[in-house]
Symmetry: C2
DNA sequence: TAGATTGTTAATCGATTAACAATC
DNA sequence: TAGATTGTTAATCGATTAACAATC
């Protein structure tokens, strides 16, 4: 999707979608069936105008004089975010962070199916966490190809990230969620999506704010 | 610092500072002593103009015809980000994610001193991780007050986050790094800084990109 | 000095907000 | 119908990029 494409959605809008998703789920769980952009804007601390603009990038989900039906808006946003695709994911590197991710409801809530765990450590291989057993990274390409894995979660040391990602990309993995401090990019696989998580940057932004409060 | 203050630095700039910090450290570790905005821009994949604009928010760190001295620029940016403040932090909730954070070099690299661990679980209290022993959350206010704790890292269940944060804010904690899925805000403590980390949002943005590639 | 590269102003671009006609 | 609230256009605001004089 190019920047000049008529259907182009700006990065800023995309980054806000998951937040709408969360707020709408909250509304649903509180049995609120209907909401206006004004009321939602007050809850989310944004402008009503922004909400309407954002949603209208994808279609007219509301109804004049009424507002938005929470259930159907939630369902639309879920679809936009690919929740219904049922993407399958593997975790590469079952260290502390990898283990922390395994046990969260995060994946299930977002329609992502955690389908495999891999590590190089012989002491870990064969051990089970939740429903899954740690496999040898030697076998990850085969596994990803055979099981149609779309997402690889990289929670392994920085030094291994690039080579690992190349191997997985060649095995058909479409997106990487990279937690290692390395800034991953794969110029040979221009269609592969990379989401680099830099927790350290988030901590530093907090420190900046404290220092300059 | 208000938006109309003459020294106001935009959020966008602040969010980029940690990235400069990382790249400069990398340059330093590769013994690169000098860099122009042009060369740094190519490495970081941004415009040279943006780099010069960003840095000039804080002062004229460069030299015409020469560029920037990597060591001194790194040191300036460190100072801006509060690395030299030596902020002390505690982790509240020693679950998987809490444990994962304890063992990272993240804090040390950024001048933050991890100084205490707290949990409600009797089986965990008294156990050691690295240099630290898990304490009872009942004692966290006293500990934070006595040890001048600036940062609380919230890796505890969503349901406990708000009450815990209120208690800590009243004990002088200045900033919260919140990993629970709750969107924390503390209207009664307007000067307290809150950095909400939403890993799920990051995963969803990745899914969106995969779905719309 | 000549060449390089900054600091900074001006121009452009994009994102947010305001306004209001359309319409439920 | 009258009231409410959307979808959408226009206005504003802010952030990014371009340009260049200043200067090392």
């Amino acid at each position: 999707m190019s920047k000049n494409d008529s259907k182009y959605i700006s990065k800023a809008v995309i980054r806000r979608l998951p937040r709408y998703f969360r707020y709408l789920r909250d509304l649903l769980s509180n049995d609120i069936m209907r909401i206006s952009s004004k009321e939602l804007s007050e809850r989310m601390n944004v402008t009503a105008s922004q909400i309407r603009q954002d949603l209208n990038c994808f279609g007219g989900f509301g109804q004049q004089g009424y507002g938005y039906n929470v259930k159907s808006l939630y369902s639309e946003i879920s679809k936009i975010l690919g929740v219904d695709k049922g993407y399958k994911a593997v975790i590469i590197g079952v260290g502390n962070l990898g283990k922390a991710l395994i046990n969260t409801p995060m994946f299930e809530k977002r329609g992502v199916k955690l389908s495999g765990l891999f590590d190089v450590d012989c002491d870990l291989i064969g051990k089970s966490f939740g429903q899954l057993t740690v496999m040898n990274t030697d076998d990850m390409e085969t596994f990803c190809r055979e099981n149609d894995i779309s997402i690889a979660i990289l929670t392994l040391p920085k030094t291994e990230v690039y080579d690992t990602a190349i191997r997985l990309a060649s095995a058909g993995v479409k997106g990487f969620w990279n937690f290692s401090n390395a800034e991953l990019s794969l110029p040979d696989y221009p269609d592969v999506i990379i989401e680099n998580v830099h927790l350290g940057d988030s901590l530093m932004a907090l420190c900046y704010e404290i220092a300059n409060a």
